[in-house]
């Protein structure tokens, strides 16, 4: 369990870490836009872009929103609704025939 003092910033990353994370986010975004324009990537576009997007999401949440250092309870409070939203989204896509089982 973490103290209120700790959650107020004493364990946050340094400016150097923030800059390195930004560099990675920048490169991933360049790759995302790049693969969009390469016809050879067409069959793999969805899995590649979803993976890169998930990586960016995780980097921002872990380092910029400090979930990597902060109390795990914050991860639970954020992760629970995020999982629920993802489940509802997948459920709706099946319900409306965007995804088809065995199709």
């Amino acid at each position: 369990m973490e103290s209120a003092t700790h959650t107020e910033g004493s364990g946050h990353p340094t400016a150097g870490t923030y800059l390195r994370v930004f560099a990675v986010l920048f490169v991933i975004t360049v790759v995302e836009v790049g693969v969009f324009y390469v016809p050879a990537f067409k069959p793999l576009l969805a899995p590649v872009l979803l993976t890169l997007s998930a990586a960016k999401f995780a980097l921002v949440v872990m380092f910029y929103m400090h979930l990597k250092q902060d109390s795990k309870f914050f991860t639970f409070v954020f992760g629970g609704p995020l999982l629920l939203a993802s489940a509802v989204m997948i459920g709706l896509l099946f319900l409306f025939g965007v995804f088809v089982l065995g199709g």
Partner: protein
Amino acid sequence: MTHATSMGLDSRKLAFWTFIGSECLLFGSLISTYLVYKGQSVVGPYPHEILNIPVTSLSTFDLLASSLWMVLALAAVQRGDMKWAKIWLLGVAIGGLIFLGFQVYEFTSFVHEGLTLQRNLFGASFFLLTGTHGAHVAVGVIWMLTLWVQALRGRLGPQNAITVEIAGLYWHFVDVVWIIIFTLVYLLQ
């Protein structure tokens, strides 16, 4: 001044994370709506005819950069460097305004090309999703400017860095929502 709960966590931060959790459900429903109606429009314009990837890529880079400036503003406030805190906070607000400028340009050009909220299912779900996100960015810009004015008046310092951290949580959440929208709406047409 801390607002610790019995768990030893700051109650304002806990409340804000709970709010962000509820925002996940809001944007989850809007993104689901967009995806469910994708390809269902019976009249154009269709996404592949109208979405401008180069312009949207620029606005994406702008929002990513503003997230960096936000964490640098927080770091500056935490170490008591208010000169740089003011610069970075103003930078975040300007970054948000630039993003909104790109969105106004995009919406205006779409309307000129015939895509409106009433035109087809793509228009309705696209404007609802990206407009809701844009409204969140606008709220964030107002919040950043408020913090900047507080800093100018000497009312912001390391003792209330938590207020900047909570504003940062909001700004980064808006950024991660855009990361998803950029991929699902713009790149996966």
